[in-house]
Point group: C2
Chain length 205, copies 2
Amino acid sequence: MKFSSKLIEDAVDVFAQLPSIGKKSALRLVLHMVNRDVTFTKEFAEALQNLRENIKECQHCFSLSDESICNICKDPHRLKNVVCVVESIRDVMAIEDTGQFSGKYHVLGGVISPLEGVGPDQLTVDELISRVEQEGIEELIMAISPTIDGETTIYYLSKKLEGKDVRISTIARGISFGGELEYADGLTLGKSISSRLPYQTNQER
Amino acid sequence: MKFSSKLIEDAVDVFAQLPSIGKKSALRLVLHMVNRDVTFTKEFAEALQNLRENIKECQHCFSLSDESICNICKDPHRLKNVVCVVESIRDVMAIEDTGQFSGKYHVLGGVISPLEGVGPDQLTVDELISRVEQEGIEELIMAISPTIDGETTIYYLSKKLEGKDVRISTIARGISFGGELEYADGLTLGKSISSRLPYQTNQER
C-alpha cells in the first residue's frame, strides 16, 4: 500500500501491529480518527497511555488492577473461602458478567504448556499454594478452558494440593471441549459455575 | 461487560468507539497493549496524536497531506492535464497502488447523497470547476464508486462542466455495480483505469 503522507503511514503502521488488524483496517481506523474531532484522538491516546503507565498487577490475586490490591480482593462482601482459579483477567471479566460467582479469584497468568515452553514456574502456582495454606480457602474452582493444556494444569494443581484441606472443583463441562472460555455465552458460563463438579483424576473416573 | 479496573474500562471505551470494533475486540486489543512493552503504547499514542494534530488537507487537490500541498500535486513528473476525480483519499491510495495512473487527483470529499443530506456544497465541486478553468485540464477521469449516489454525482459534474473544454471519462465498469471502489483488487482497478470510457448520460446511451 502506497501512502502519500508519512503521518498516515506511521499511524497505519502502529495500528497494524495490533492483533487481527491488517493494513486496510488500520487505514480505515486512522481515517476515522482524522475525520473526527481532534479531542477524540487526544482522549484516545491519553486513555491508552494512562492505562499502560498506571495499570498494576494485584499483589494478591494477580489480576490487573488500578491499585496494588484489586477491587475484588478488597471487597468485604465477597466470600473469602471460595476462590476461582483462572488463566487471565479476560476470564475474570467473563465470570463477573454472569453474576453467578461471589467468591474471589486467582489469576494463573496462563496454563502449563510444554509446547509453548510454559512451565509452572512462569505461572502463579506457588502463590496459589501459599494462599491455600494461609487464607483458610475451602474450595478452589478450576475455571480453566477445557483444552489439553488446561486439563494438564488442573491435574498438576490437584497433585500439588494433595493432602491440603481444600476441595477442588471444576466448572461443569457445559463448555465444549477445545473451546475458549472467554467466548462462551454468559448463560452457559454462569450455568457451568453453578453446577460445578468435584475434581476427579482420570484414574478415579 | 464488568470491569474491575477503571483504567481498563476507559481504554476499552475509547477503542470501542472506533468503527467495527466491539467491546470484546477492544478488550483484546487493550490487553495486548498491557502485555507489550510500555514503549509500544507510547509510540502508538504519539503516532496518532502527531497525525491528528499535523495532518493537513492539500489546498490543491483536497487529499490528506503532511504539508499544505501534497506530494502528488508537487510532483513535476506527473501529468497535469489528466485529473482523476475520487471520493476520498482511500481511493487515491487504491489507484496509486495499481501504478496505472500518472496524472493528478481531485478529492471530492464524498458523493452527492440526498438521503444523507450531502449536496454539492459540501463537496469540493466549485474547486474542481476552478481547476478545470485555470489549469488547462484536458481530461477528468471519474473514478467514483458505481453506486446510485456515485452515478448521480458524475451526472451532476458532467452538467456543471458542459461547454467547458474538457473530456469527461469514467473508469471502465470492471467493478461490479454497487461495489465499493476501495475494496476492488488492484488488477481490476488498474484495468478499469486504463480502459476508461467517454462519459455518456442515460439519454445518449
